[in-house]
């Protein structure tokens, strides 16, 4: 009865003054076969606003072992071969420490803490499992549907003997085959990149790991839908993180409204490792982190997902006749695709 009288509606709450002027500084150094350097400065946006690429007026410097090595443009990625980089700038890939320094046009200096690039443990294997799960559909009814769960097995101790925190970026690639809409033209196949999973933050703080290895650690959970009808490839980028960075990413994850319900723990202020050297009291948003990355892939055969083709049996969508109109689709077959 009480539930019958309950209701949910959207409201606007007054934000404290100055909330939208808060400075954001973020960046990272990722090391695979190449280094990727990235930094961005700007301002926080209101909750219902859109992101503008308005950067702070001033300079962004990447500093390695206390030496400025690169003046960066906000929002751009810099890619350079690891060996080449060190031959030019010196330093040791396993020992050098990076930090960001931002100097605004009015002389305010922001600086991150120094971060070493921790070696990433090599993931051993991945596997998927088909599970049934109850969920509430859009009509409010409880349904049971099939889901694909992705597990990874990996050590958490790197080749330096350090226990490191990990983050995973999960993307997928599915095959989409057209319906023979045109008699003389054979139906084409498109490879469609699935980026939904990468929007989720998958992070594990090494403090929460008892042993030296993670076995069958769940990193993705998705509908066993038509994406799996002709095979599906998971690409997982495993990244090493310092514990400090892992805490930050864990906080980002817990702040995600999709993780919340009315009994959820109230989130709090995100941590940061960037300070205003002129005014240490200023709360700066963002984080600068370093990581080494390693990539692992897993192909899911159609029979593993149990999914039958139920799309484009008839030309029921435009994409069934022209799959390239699908977002993030390509005719190019990746070299790893084996189905």
């Amino acid at each position: 009865m009480i539930l019958f009288f309950s209701c949910v509606d959207q409201i606007q709450l007054q934000s404290p003054p100055g909330a939208e002027d808060q400075v954001v500084i973020e960046g990272y150094v990722e090391r695979g076969s190449d280094y990727i350097f990235y930094a961005r400065t700007g301002y926080a946006e209101s909750l219902d606003g859109v992101f503008y690429n308005e950067s702070l007026p001033g300079t962004i410097e990447l500093i390695m072992d206390d030496d400025p090595i690169l003046e960066m443009v906000s929002g751009l990625r810099y890619k350079i071969n690891v060996q080449q980089f060190h031959s030019i700038y010196g330093g040791d890939p396993n020992d050098s420490a990076f930090k960001l320094r931002v100097t605004t046009s009015d002389g305010v200096v922001y600086e991150s803490t120094e971060q070493k690039v921790l070696s990433v443990p090599k993931p051993e294997s991945m596997r998927v499992e088909l599970v049934e799960k109850e969920f509430v559909n859009s009509a409010g009814n409880v349904e049971i549907d099939d889901f694909v769960e992705l597990f990874i097995t990996t050590p958490v101790v790197n080749d330096q003997g350090e226990k490191v925190s990990l983050r995973w970026d999960v993307t997928g690639l599915s095959l989409f085959i057209e319906y023979p809409c045109f008699p003389l033209i054979p139906p084409k196949s498109c490879y469609v990149k699935d980026s939904l999973a990468i929007l989720k933050v998958n992070v594990l703080n090494s403090e929460n790991v008892g042993g030296e290895k993670l076995t069958d650690f769940s990193i993705d959970f998705t509908d066993a839908d038509e994406r799996f009808a002709f095979g599906y490839y998971y690409t997982v980028v495993q990244k090493s993180l310092s514990d400090e960075a892992a805490i930050f990413w864990q906080q980002v994850k817990e702040s995600n409204p999709e993780e919340q319900d009315i009994f959820s723990v109230a989130p709090g202020s995100l941590s940061t490792n960037i300070k205003n050297l002129n005014n240490p009291e200023e709360k700066v948003l963002g984080f600068f982190y370093t990581s080494e990355v390693d990539t692992i892939r897993l192909g899911v055969r159609p029979d593993e997902s149990g999914r039958q083709r139920d799309e484009c049996i008839q030309p029921n969508t435009d994409a069934c006749c022209d799959c390239i109109i699908l977002r993030n689709s390509s005719y190019e077959r990746p070299s790893y695709w084996q189905f």
Binding site: M1, I2, L3, F4, F5, S6, C7, V8, D9, Q10, I11, L13, S15, P16, A19, Q22, V24, E26, Y38, G42, A44, E45, S46, L47, G49, F51, K133, E134, V136, A139, G140, N141, V142, F147, E149, S195, L199, E207, Q250, Q251, V252, E254, S255, N256, P257, E258, Q260, D261, I262, F263, V265, A266, P267, G268, S269, L270, E281, L285, G286, F287
Partner: protein, 930 residues
Amino acid sequence: MLKWFGKKTEVDLMNTRIILLINKFWKRALDINVVLSTLILICTAQGTYGQNTDTLKLEVKSTQILEDFIVDVVASHPVSIYVVDSDLSELKVSSHEKPVALDVILKASLENSNADFINYRNYFYIIAPKSRISRRLSSDFFNALEETINSEMNQNELVQTVGSLEMLDPNMTPEVSGVITDAETGEPIIGGTLLVVQNQLGSATDVDGNYTLELPPGDYDIQVQYIGYLTRSFPVKVISGGTLNIALEKSAVLLDEVVVEAMAKDENVESADVGVSRLSTKELEKIPTFLGEIDIVKGLLLQPGVSTIGEGATGFNVRGGNVDQNLVMVDEGILFNPSHALGFFSSFNPDVVNDALLYKGNAPSKYGGRLASVLNINLRDGNFDKFRLKGGVGLVSGRLTVEAPIIKNKTSFIASGRSTYSNWLLKRVPIPEVQDSRISFYDANFRLTHRFNEKSNVNLSLYNSGDNFLYANQFGFTYGNTLGELSYRQIIGTKFLSTSSVVFGNYISNQLSETGFNGADLTTGIRYNKFKENISYNSGALSMDIGISSIFYSVNPGNIVPAGENSVVAETSLSEEDAIESALYLGGDYKINSRLTVSAGLRYTYYIFNGPQEMYTYENEEQPSISTITGRANFENFVIKSYGHLQPRFSSRLRLTPTSSLKLGYARTVQYLNQISNTSTPTPTNIWQLSTQYIEPKTAHNFSFGYFNNFDNNNWITSLEVFYRNIDRLFDYKDFADLVVNDHIETELLYGIGRAAGVELSINKQLGKVNGMLNYTYSRSQLKIEGINNYQWYSSNFDKPHDLSLVTNFVLNKRHQFSFNFSYSTGRPVTLPINRFQLGDHHSALNFSDRNLIRIPDYHRLDVAYTIGQGLRKSKKFKTSWTFSVYNVYGRANAFSVYLIQRGSASPTINRLSILGSAFPSVTFNFELI
């Protein structure tokens, strides 16, 4: 009507002219040691006495037995004759044809016996053994004699006489004591007040209905009052110390009387208590309620200084204190969750509750263990005289109470139950989430009382409750309370009351998160055994309590098991933690003079967190953190950590005028047991956490000051109170703290200090066709914690500066009453994102405000109720009433919770969940068979 009060024996003389009463007692008079062990009282209820100093002369027509002669004389002449320890059955009176003086007759009759007599003014004679008669009697002795005589003269004025000549002790001011009871049920009335009109002395009854007054011999007018009862005024003649039991008649059901007084006259002005709210079920009946169910906690929320986070929140907040800072007691039992059904109902069935007393910060020394308040719910005994049935049927719940004597006037029971039957209704609501939801509760009370005699009784009380809530088959919780109490009360002498109690309590809660992948079942609980011995002393001007208590706690910090086949949650179980909280206390009230009363007390508590217990060890025990863990150790000792605290309590009242007073109070309080939660709203599954070697107890200083003034003969009762509390070792939670099944929970806490201050204004109109109350509180409740908000003061979760409630009752006539209730409070503080920012190409992050920086919209609500009571005939055996009410008349969507929703990459939105977002009508039928 003339009454004689012997020791525990009351004899109604009415039209009987001679009464023989055998009674054992002792008596000491000044200058003579007349010990009277057996008394034959002979008195007369008719005739004219006056100050007659003429000797009574009588004719004795024939020889007769002296005892028979005395009976005849007293029956037909204006004299009283007391015979003490003398056997007159063998003595004879010789015949006298001419009238002879009574003295002569008695002298002749007693001549050859061991007895002699005293003549007082020729109309009062005492016959006693010669060895006990002295001619050097004091003036007090004779004054008392005269008072007794005068009392017999005033028989037509319904004078009640207290004491007797034999009980007169001229060295002491007579002490009048007794019990105030419900005339219908014989139940003691707690908090009833007596006022001696002539000297404005007053007294209030304790939890057993007992009162004591010190009154010199004389004539007085006594007024006795209690809420919901007819005020009694009657003359009393005090001869010596003695017993005066008073029965009050109910003012029928409220609607039988247009005027119902909510508080005994000037009780708020007279009492030394500061920061106290007293509620009775009679008062609650006047307030419009949700689903028509009268509810103690809902009534308390209308009092100044008491607030809640909102509909659906468990518990209540007192003077800026957290929910867990309230000690909720049912008699001597402790309830760890006083709420049913998401807080919409409290755990107390109003039909078995006698009254509720809330001490806001300044509790007497016999209470302790919480910082902010003590809510003491007193249950009532079953009817000792006759069978009674009472109940109510509402839209979603019903209740039934049965009470009856087992042995009339000796043993009685009361059994009561409440239950919901709402689930069938949910099934019929065409909303899938509602159809797949469950909400239900029950509670059951049983109480057995046996009176061994008028001085001792024993009570056995049992309580059990259960709650079940499930939302759309996704998440929910169940919880239950069990209480058992055995108490024995013994009056020692006339001034001491000993109460021994043994209590068992158990609270278990269970939280079920969504089924499937993350399905988990979390169980926590707390179990305790308590012993308490309290001795009360009451001698009118001075009343004291001294006692000792021990509580043995066992806390289950949590165990979690996967729920359902698909759950990947790991099973984890934390070991039980044990502790003992013992207290020794002494406290009392002393009336220095009619203007100044002081109340002072001292409570010493000793707390032991006891082993064996396996716990983490840290480099720095003062600031435990994950990074400083050095290992895990087994603490084998019985005492792992102990704390001792001395807690002084003080309050005083200075009467400015007969209807106004100033009061101030101070109390030091300590809390060893805390509720752990960092969810945005309190839930029944919040974990109770004992103080350990790492988690120190919280301590607080509570200060109160108040001005109380009543107007228009107690019609308007007003008060203005100011309070301040500061708290040491207060803790809050780290951002993103993980508190569930965490065996190093101390690493998730941050310590600091807290403060709360406020002003409370209360205006209460008691009488008239339009009556009600207006309560307004302005208060702030803040914390300063190292590691949160840059160590600046910030608002607590329940900091609601403005809090107003207005209750108005329109008594249309004896059967019909219309009432409305308006509540307003500032929105509570919350922590919400204030902006967001990008992280790389794929992620964005929400930036939350400083802790509790944002306020949700203000809360306000209007309720109305219309009650049709039973008819005008008070004698009806079956009483019924109907209550029609609308809760939240204008459908204000007050926020229970504010949270974010984000779909994919769209902007997040702030959403308000209103548990009752629209008007909620209800009808309740109440019945009572008496």
